[in-house]
Symmetry: C2
Subunit: 272 residues, 2 copies
Amino acid sequence: MATDMEIVCVGNELLIGKVVNTNASWLGKRATNTGIAITRITICADNVEEMAAVFREVFARKPKFVVSTGGLGPTFDDKTLQGIAEALHRKLAVNEDALRMVKDKYTEYAKTRNIKEGEMTAPRLKMATLPEGTSPLPNPVGTAPGVRADVDGTVLFVLPGVPREMEAIFEESVTPLLRKASGNVAFYEKSIFADDIMESVLAPLIDTVMKDNPSVYIKSHPKGREHKPHMELHLSTSGKPSEKPEKSLENASAQLATLIVKSGGKVYADEN
Amino acid sequence: MATDMEIVCVGNELLIGKVVNTNASWLGKRATNTGIAITRITICADNVEEMAAVFREVFARKPKFVVSTGGLGPTFDDKTLQGIAEALHRKLAVNEDALRMVKDKYTEYAKTRNIKEGEMTAPRLKMATLPEGTSPLPNPVGTAPGVRADVDGTVLFVLPGVPREMEAIFEESVTPLLRKASGNVAFYEKSIFADDIMESVLAPLIDTVMKDNPSVYIKSHPKGREHKPHMELHLSTSGKPSEKPEKSLENASAQLATLIVKSGGKVYADEN
């Protein structure tokens, strides 16, 4: 099994559908492209008990990596670190490295704005208050540091919910570790598109191609209606470059295209 | 506590970030608007054991409602009903009502397309094969029926992943039950926007307004950067019309706007 990762997204705005969870899809795509398999995504409320339950369950499944998003800011409802502390039975305390990071940010902001340099109010101190035994990750584009926690072989990265901050910390502090863990395995994908073939007719053709190409996974995505079908066939595989995974994809998609045409369908290389 | 609901979204395409999970946000918004509280969203792979584990965990938490999306079609990787059967220790069997629904669809399709009327191939029979003791929900715009399962006081609705099919079955077969369960409670929300106030300065103002208006929940969504801030303040509440929830929202947003202006921020009624 590929090195695995779970994602936890914290935020009432995701549960009530106010915000579409593009953080999860961005992380899923980035991790997949570095050869990591996402096994589960959990979305939970800004509620300490709920979060603690979710993180306890995630740790019990022992994934190699966990990335969480949301709940690191200065307001009362930014509770992710409380939830993690509760799940790990650890205390929260001001972390000196995190404090320096946050102070430096406000010193920088003070140059352009009318605030007292480094003034550490309670909401600002909150962003430097971490579960004991964890360490801060620099936030290149925002104030609240990310957090890394090592828990019984699982590495947890706690990232903010603001997409540009989450992405910046991920690229700087998480991606290099994922690449190393996946050992040069990469993800390859290719889609072909078919018209005039029903999904129920397509099903046995996909079975045949997957049996003949065991390293390739094929999923059909219906985009029209069953009786007026337009279908995306998404083929994917993972492997080291030496295993020539692109070649397996090409073979499988060529075979599938041939079978579809034989069954009366039309095949296109691009969305049409 | 409001009547609660969990969402389970099945599909590798969601884990690898190929598809953004708009089904979850659509369901979250619709359920919230009918007065139901979404407590958790779980996304898992097209894998029977994974799904069975997820559904077992969901049932153990005993939510009033569960809605799942994805994995009901005719292809080999549409495995949601297998996962649910496994979780419930029930057998899968052809359901006569479901069979009639699927047959009727192909009879209809046969009028416009060159297929044998009602021909029930294995992939088509698959869409009529349900866990024992469950019942099909008509699909007004597609082929695969939805499924309803009643499990120890929890009502599970199993819906397809294609958004228009999922939405059509939800509106026809799920919404009326949610409305009845929530007892005329509705969700109210309002946003105001603020410039030139940092989230760390805003935090204690939000605390004050929430203490003075205990029925109103306020969440800040940073949209600029901490040192050049643009903020959405989202206020929400639930209640019966007789409790005048809109009035509480108005009071809270007026108080918050006043406090922000006093702290040197600018307030706007609309996104700018």
